[in-house]
Symmetry: D2
Subunit: 231 residues, 4 copies
């Protein structure tokens, strides 16, 4: 298979940017991000396409996907990397911050899946890779909201994978452990494990899943981490 | 322990109403619901207190709890039963319906937990019982959104239970199987198993958890169903 | 329902003994244990029936159940409490100790389920309650073998519950947190949490499940613990 | 990294044989199997080393690993593929067959892990890949015993991965969906999904994990299947 077209939602920083960087030499890439300046910078740096898109708005998600299809006809894979951090005790989080985390991580992810699957099913093929979090595997008293939004996404992937009734449309997920991305810097260093994975390392796994062919096996549920034995 | 005070969020129909009915003879009960007429009817029928409250509005949740505390001083237990059904294929669900399901079931549940725990911690005791769903235990291609919102709630309960660092504030969950409530009637009979539990039967378990004393053991994660062997 | 007949496998100490004690005033009880002196002591103390039975021997399990049926005709419920502790690092455990833990906790549990279900299905009703462990909910580097045997049992319960195709034969499980039983004393105090449940407290939940009527709902998957907020 | 040494436990048929075949051109491989003729055939065909080893005997496991170390000094990776099928209703399985399935799949796996980790820790590096089963993700009324033994193995991997406290010794697992191997032919075609993965396809994933370098990330928990949308 030659050059293909990939959409990286949340592709302007962290793991999404690292995945876009790995794809851009051989493939067509469109990054979606909600901050115009950041989208412009990445488009400039990588020479890829870019769309401004707040995933919590259905219209923006629909229009961003429609523009990619207008431009490239086919979408071969979508990486759903957009995510907002919301660490800290429930009592300490403002109602507005909770709402925003739920709107981006749960509602926005659903809209991205809805539009992505609409196009993949129309085409009859394509891959959807959701970036989950290792946090879903255990209760996390320190990050209840963030973990709950990731449990939502993971649950959605499991149900939607079964709903496709075809190997040609793969709905997959990958659970990274801690990475020193902007998402985590915001909450302070104390939350990072001493030993963590670099986004560049995890991005190779994201790309591996995006590049699976329609007749390849499903490969999903990967846990990818630099562990020091813990997960 | 004598008469105590309980808040039943989503107490105007289905399981919530059945739990309120069981509690009201011996305890003080406040039911919260988002439809004024329904709240009025239940207040009338049960002779309990009632508050109009759309759980997706933080202010309404905050004010409803504040009014209960104004009136009764102490809240001994909260049943989080408010839930919106959103069955059917992702492609068939409108963006607005998806948003509403996420706002009620995920965001609204978080606001209820935030306010409930604020008061329980201030008091130093009390029980919070979340009504999950057996649906979380397996992928459900036919109800991806509903299941994802319940996976969100279940994840939140697990994290918040650990975050209390005390046996005196119990954050618990109960997973009912199918019941013939209004929530399910809306989606059509075909979704109901032939054999299902009645809300009155499941309500006895909800009440059992609500009535646990501060020094009692945690009892959580119950799966309650009329099973015909399946779950 | 009046007096019924219950078999408590592993009923000579800890949680099993506590459950037998709660049942014996109103019901017929047979305790099964692998140490003749201990069985004799409990039979003496409680005035119940007793059978010597090493659960890792199919013949002994079969014969013990057959004798209970000979004596009482019907078995209304079985509590599967027999369990061997095997804490500590994999490197530190002897091959023989590992074998014994697997034979008692995995193989023996399977034989108990096989015989119990044989009789319950013949009768057309009855309850089987497996004592799992909260340890199954997270990786436990310090108790890999013990946890693996409990994961085995929990998996078996889930599959067998679905295999009955009837509400009248209930295969249920209960996951206690740490208790100061002989099972744990053997491994040293350092493994016990500071705050733990007493077997007498957890036994009330075991008995509650054993006493469910054929037409009652399934109630399963309970986590019962004195938590101090953790689990 | 150049040629390395791998042990494939259960390497004489199915997935294990397919993995050995992929490794043998560039690496040193020792296959372990319990049927002397089968080991001889594979040694002949692949030109690799072979050891006769019934994993349910600790002495045989210990000696087989010791001979590999004698011959090659270092073990870089171990694939734990030995597994016995035990499908069918609990009532239909003979006590002896149940015992054997538990001895091979649970006890034998534990012995393999014990010896493998002994050598990997002595060396300070190496990979252990356990072949789980997608069956662990849902209750399976039709294969309760087989699933329970795989739940045991999966639980063990999770605990032991955390117990290493180092990224250099990776304890990983991979969950294949149905494959038309000898393990499944034994139970009759009706158990196979219409669409299944070939051992050769899944083997590439086994080998990918075996070849991870000490400083690579952990990659574990993969679900690998040809799904037709189901899992």
């Amino acid at each position: 298979m030659g050059a293909r077209t990939f959409v990286v939602v949340g592709g302007t920083s962290g793991l999404g940017l690292a995945a876009a960087r790995l794809l851009v030499d051989e493939h067509r890439v469109a990054v979606l991000g909600d901050v115009p300046d950041e989208v412009a910078t990445v488009v400039d740096e990588l020479g890829c396409a870019g769309q401004i898109c707040d995933v919590s708005s259905y219209e923006q998600v629909r229009d961003a996907f429609a523009e990619v299809v207008d431009r490239y006809d086919v979408i071969d894979g979508v990486a759903a990397c957009a995510s907002m951090w919301a660490g800290g005790d429930l009592a300490a989080l403002s109602p507005e911050r909770i709402r925003r985390a739920v709107e981006i991580n749960a509602l926005g992810t659903t809209y991205v899946f809805k539009e992505a699957l609409h196009h993949l099913r129309r085409q009859g093929h394509g891959n959807l890779v959701y970036i989950g979090a290792l946090a879903v595997t255990k209760p996390r008293p320190g990050i209840p909201i963030y973990r709950a939004t990731k449990s939502y996404g993971s649950s959605l992937v499991e149900s939607l994978a079964e709903a496709q009734h075809s190997n040609r449309i793969k709905v997959m997920e990958l659970h990274p452990g801690p990475m020193p991305t902007r998402l985590q810097e915001r909450v302070g260093d104390e939350f990072l494990d001493e030993i963590y994975a670099l986004p560049e390392q995890v991005a190779t796994e994201v790309v591996r899943l995006l590049l699976l062919a329609p007749d390849d096996l499903y490969v999903s549920g990967e846990r990818v981490l630099r562990a020091d034995g813990r997960w």
